[in-house]
């Protein structure tokens, strides 16, 4: 796990570095979050009022999105791997197995995609406040 963790940490720092290491970019990122995250709560709050809510279209939409994401990983370019060019030059030429690289990438992509859970969670809070029951 140690080597996978090393590969994972590199990915996070290399890809998120531009945000974390530049104060102006980080400030802009926080500002955007402050603007849009309350919107997620509002979206959850007003979700029951949407005209298609009764028809169950949001479930159909969620299923279509899930299918798209499920097929995206195996069919995407480079097998769905997100590789920094430095990883090709300096990690792929070291004794690191493809399995470790892929696992680290899976963790990394999970981390990035997982940020969407924050939005979904806030939406759920809004929905619960409105209806009195979690979605």
């Amino acid at each position: 796990m140690g080597l996978t963790w090393t590969l994972y940490r590199f990915k996070v720092r290399a890809f998120v570095g531009p945000v974390l290491r530049q104060p102006a970019t980080l400030a802009a990122f926080v500002l955007l979050a402050l603007v849009f995250l309350p919107g997620a709560v509002a979206m959850g709050y007003f979700l029951p009022d949407l005209p298609w809510a009764a028809a169950g279209l949001e479930e159909i939409g969620a299923m279509a999105l899930s299918m798209l994401l499920a097929f995206n990983l195996p069919t995407a370019l480079a097998g769905g791997l997100v590789l920094h060019p430095a990883e090709v030059d300096f990690a792929a030429t070291t004794p690191v197995t493809v399995r470790r690289l892929a696992l680290a990438d899976l963790l990394f992509q999970g981390t990035i995609q997982g940020t969407g859970l924050v939005v979904a969670g806030l939406g759920a809070i809004g929905y619960t406040v409105r209806t009195g029951a979690p979605p």
């Binding site: 590199f10 570095g17 531009p18 920094h84 300096f90 030429t93 004794p95």
Partner: protein, 274 residues
């Protein structure tokens, strides 16, 4: 097709042996039946015009490209037999490499050290020594995106060599490096060879190759047209005894203007290890 003219040498263990390497991009053969050898303690220069197939050869050796035909041996073992184990013995500095712009040199080198399974204390010691040697110590906590071309070259060289590779592959390592850095880089390469490592340096800088390398392999149109010491190459080119590598290079590449073959031979190579 004509075989590479390789001058006979005193026997020493092969660190790298390339046997009839072929590599094609779409319909173009980039490497055509290349034979190449690097022995322990030897610095071999790989020189040739643009498009000769030097970088393709290096990428095939490090496993970034799959060859269409031919075999590659590192430390006597075919790399296809154990594609992971041989990389532990490898150090590679590409020509057009990428570094993570938003990491510091210290962080990046620690990352590479961990990939090579170097103990932290050893890694820290070697990184510090390398940074001191290449005048990067004061800038070690700066982000790499603030580095000049030469500083990036030095960082990449340290990443390729800090684990003491048995086989070091350098692709144009001196481009953009200041004179002091060039001297130190060449000293480090010689020191590594003196410890028994084999070094293959691809370069266009013929004067550097002449002074740094024990042997020279001249590539042209995907083939190694000649390999040997400078004096041996002079003999192969029927050149004067005081000819420079530049003159010998021009002579040998001018002789190798035959049209390239279409496909690799189907029969197994007869080229054997000595």
């Amino acid at each position: 097709m004509p075989r590479t003219r390789i001058a006979p040498r005193v026997a020493a263990p092969d660190v790298l042996l390339v046997d009839q390497l072929w590599k094609k991009y779409d319909d173009t053969w980039a490497v055509q039946g290349l034979d190449l050898r690097v022995r322990a303690g030897e610095i071999v220069g790989l020189i040739g015009p643009n498009g000769a197939g030097k970088t393709t050869t290096l990428k095939a050796i490090v496993g970034l490209l799959a060859q269409d035909a031919g075999r590659i041996f590192v430390n006597g073992r075919e790399i296809a037999a154990d594609p992971l184990a041989y990389k532990a013995a490898l150090g590679y500095m590409p020509e057009a490499f990428s570094l993570p712009d938003y990491l510091t040199a210290q962080e990046f080198l620690e990352y590479v050290a961990r990939l090579h399974d170097l103990p932290l204390s050893v890694a820290q010691e070697r990184i510090r020594a390398g940074l001191v040697r290449f005048d990067l110590l004061e800038r070690r906590t700066d982000l790499i995106n603030a580095y000049s071309k030469g500083m990036r070259q030095k960082t990449a060289f340290l990443a390729a060599t800090m684990h003491g590779p048995r086989l070091l592959l350098l692709d144009e390592p001196l481009i953009g490096v200041d004179p002091q850095g060039q001297v130190r880089l060449k000293e480090d390469v010689r020191a590594l060879a003196a410890k028994g490592s084999g070094v293959l340096v691809s370069t266009h800088m013929l004067d550097t190759a002449e002074r740094l390398c024990d042997h020279i392999a001249i590539m042209h149109r995907g083939r190694a047209v000649a390999q040997g010491t400078l004096s041996e190459l002079r003999g192969l080119a029927h050149a004067r005894t005081d000819s420079t590598l530049e003159e010998v290079f021009l002579q040998l590449t001018a002789e190798a203007q035959a049209p390239p073959p279409e496909e690799p031979p189907r029969r197994r190579s007869l080229w054997r290890r000595r």
